[in-house]
């Protein structure tokens, strides 16, 4: 092993996040690896199916889906920061979407009011989960699992009570614009915006906000410290109980947002909102380098993780596989993408770290 490279090992270049231990070269950063894999897949799929670059049928819908799943990932990430899990992500989203739908249906409220209601309801349920966890000391996995069951029943009872079926037939003003329009529809004179759906900026603002929270803010950092070591956090003067409840409330709030956006994308506030959120909620952050053990999160990585899964899904859809082939390929591509990332990391470690 070359000694020169080691003695002159650069004092770690400015690092993006706290997840990469010091001393690894920039290209060992998992986010870079993900980005490379994503770009490679996009090139591959576009070469195989030029319609992958079709704006209206591929790119725009993909962005809209991506926005939802990035936020779903962040909802899980919020509690992963503590080393907790939130298995009630699906139903927190469903209940929040119900609350928004009810607001529109009964109060004929404007779009933003329903959004606000969804966020508040989500945050409250999250806070409830956090409170149960901190007061009883029962594992978050179990608490949120049970909560999910309970909410599942509640959702169906609520819809049965408030609607004649399982969905609200509401259409608040602005919903269609949010659903169908892209920035391309808004022009200042001859210059029109890019073909980006209007839900994307909402997601983007959320991503930045959560990123700032965990990177810069005291509260976010204290959540991470709590996740890193609960006892050390408590003995360092961090109000751990409050931080745990806040992280769960944040998770609930993001579930609310995800549920709202999905309802917008799907065009209806219905009981099935959120049904498919659970696995993607874990996949995106963990692909992005967030630890299940807590203490380190990567917001950007979560967005990239969500992007990767969307790209794989979309590309393979375009290639029109049979169901079994499709599932097998999704799994294999995921494994390959992850292994590539790992290979890169090992190479980097060979050059520097050996534990």
């Amino acid at each position: 092993m070359g000694e020169a490279t080691l003695t002159s090992a650069p004092a770690a270049p400015p690092q993006e996040d706290s997840t990469t231990p010091s001393g690894l070269p920039w290209w060992a950063n998992p986010r870079v690896g993900l980005l490379v894999v994503i770009v490679a897949l996009v090139i591959l799929f576009s070469a195989l199916r030029p319609s992958f670059l079709n704006v209206d049928l591929t790119l725009v819908p993909m962005q809209a889906d991506l926005s939802v799943f990035a936020i779903v990932g962040l909802a899980q990430l919020a509690v992963l920061s503590l080393g907790h899990m939130n298995l009630a992500v699906p139903r927190m989203a469903a209940v929040s979407a119900f609350a928004a739908g009810l607001t529109y249906d009964r109060l004929h409220a404007p779009l933003v009011v329903g959004l606000a209601v969804a966020l508040v309801v989500g945050a409250l349920i999250g806070a409830l989960a956090g409170t149960i966890i901190t007061t009883t000391g029962v594992n978050s996995f179990v608490v949120t699992l049970a909560l999910d069951f309970g909410l599942l029943g509640l959702v169906s009872l609520l819809y049965a009570w408030a609607t004649d079926g399982v969905a609200f037939a509401v259409h608040p003003a602005g919903m269609d614009a949010l659903r169908f329009d892209t920035m391309n529809n808004y022009c200042a004179g001859p210059v029109c915006g890019p073909p980006v759906p209007l839900v994307v900026p909402i997601a983007l603002v959320t991503v930045v906000a959560v990123g700032v929270l965990f990177r810069r803010s005291r509260v976010g950092r204290e959540m991470l410290m709590t996740g890193s070591s609960l006892r050390a956090a408590r003995l360092s003067g961090i109000p751990v109980t409050r931080r745990i409840i806040q992280a769960h409330a944040l998770s609930g709030l993001l579930c609310g947002l995800a549920g709202f956006l999905l309802a917008i994308n799907n065009g209806a506030f219905s009981a099935t909102i959120g049904d498919q959120f659970l696995l993607p909620s874990f996949l995106a952050p963990v692909l992005g380098g967030t630890l299940l053990a807590g203490g380190a999160v990567s917001v950007l990585g979560t967005v990239l993780g969500a992007t990767l899964t969307s790209v794989i899904q979309k590309g393979l859809n375009l290639l029109q596989f049979q169901l079994d082939q499709l599932q097998i390929l999704i799994g294999v591509v995921l494994l390959l993408a992850l292994s590539l990332d790992r290979v890169r990391h090992v190479l980097a470690e060979r050059r520097g770290v050996r534990r």
Partner: protein, 326 residues
């Protein structure tokens, strides 16, 4: 920019049959949809269509189904026969596709509520089918006793309609038949259905006389469990999967209500082709019953002819009533 979309989505210009590429998209993998594959190919041959494909990769997820539909559109498919995963939001999906100029039909399941944003809905009238099934069960029970209804996802408007249909048949007996229990959410997988049926039979096997199924896995499970337990319970199943037909032949299933998947796929493709060729619906969004057929040991060998006749009639109805072609 709208001009980059796939070919054939210009709503105004009529296509010729060989330009029509039809995608039949069920909600997910399910035995019910399997006949669509062959029926679609048959339609392609018969009508000289550009292409007919069958894609069941939605996996019972509306978001994924939307994704699959758009992918197919990007691939050049321009007419869609869709079983909506979620009847409550499927209209939005239809709007999306029609906005881009594609032909859309809802097949085998209609949207919830009173409006259908697809050109037409060609489906089993689930309420009527459930009604017929319950009737058949009541008849098999000898017109009195306790009945149990086993069905699928409760937060699905079709399930609600099925429950209504069964209730209606029970109500008509003026209290002679009691609907003692409705068990939902056991169509997820076969084990769940088997377990629930076992628990049901253990709990009140001796005081029920009939089981009416309006979902596939419970039907398979209850037929087997009743047969094995030896209880004198009449089971009415759904669909005409080989497993269930075998049950009818050996007597473990009193009757089943067969639907008409082949007719849905063929006639649906036919109508989609006509629409793409420039025809219009006389009543856009009309709901058309594709028929349901009570099958018992009496007609197990002959019901398919009845069904084929229904299919022929359906096609004729489209030409005569539903379509207006210049």
């Amino acid at each position: 920019s709208k001009n980059t979309t796939a070919s054939g989505n210009d709503a105004t210009s009529a296509l010729t049959a060989d330009q029509v590429k039809i995608a039949l998209v069920p909600g997910g993998p399910h035995p019910y949809f399997q006949p669509w594959k062959a029926a679609g190919q048959q339609a392609k041959q018969e009508f000289g269509l550009g292409d007919v494909t069958f894609n069941e990769t939605s996996g019972w997820d509306q978001t994924k189904q939307n994704d699959v539909l758009k992918s197919l559109a990007a691939q050049g498919y321009n007419a869609f026969g869709i079983f909506g995963v979620s009847p409550d939001n499927i209209n939005s999906t239809f709007q999306d596709l029609t906005r881009q100029g594609f032909q859309v039909a809802s097949i085998a399941s209609c949207p919830a509520g009173t409006t259908d944003d697809a050109s037409f809905c060609l489906a089993t009238d689930v309420e009527a089918a459930a009604y017929k099934a319950a009737k058949a069960a009541i008849a098999a029970m000898g017109g009195q006793g306790n009945l149990v209804h086993l069905t699928g996802n409760k937060v699905d408007s079709n399930t609600q309609r099925r429950m209504d249909g069964v209730q209606k048949a029970v109500d008509e007996t003026n209290g002679k038949v009691k609907l003692v229990q409705t068990i939902t959410d056991i169509d997820i997988d076969l084990q769940t259905a088997q377990r629930s049926v076992a628990d049901l039979l253990a709990a009140r096997g001796t005081d029920i006389q009939g089981i009416v199924n309006t979902a596939y896995n419970p039907a398979v499970a209850s037929a087997a469990a009743v047969k094995q337990s030896g209880l004198p319970i009449k089971v009415v199943a759904i669909d005409d999967d080989p497993t269930i037909l075998a049950g009818i032949k050996d007597g473990s299933v009193a009757a089943t209500v067969a639907q008409n998947p082949v007719g849905q796929a063929t006639v649906g493709s036919y109508a989609l082709m006509k629409l793409a060729e420039g025809c219009t619906m006389t009543t856009p969004g009309v709901t058309i019953d594709s028929g349901s057929f009570v099958v018992s040991s009496d007609n197990v060998d002959s019901y398919d002819q009845e069904r084929q006749a229904e299919t022929t009639k359906l096609r004729q109805d489209f030409d005569d009533k539903y379509l207006s072609c210049s």
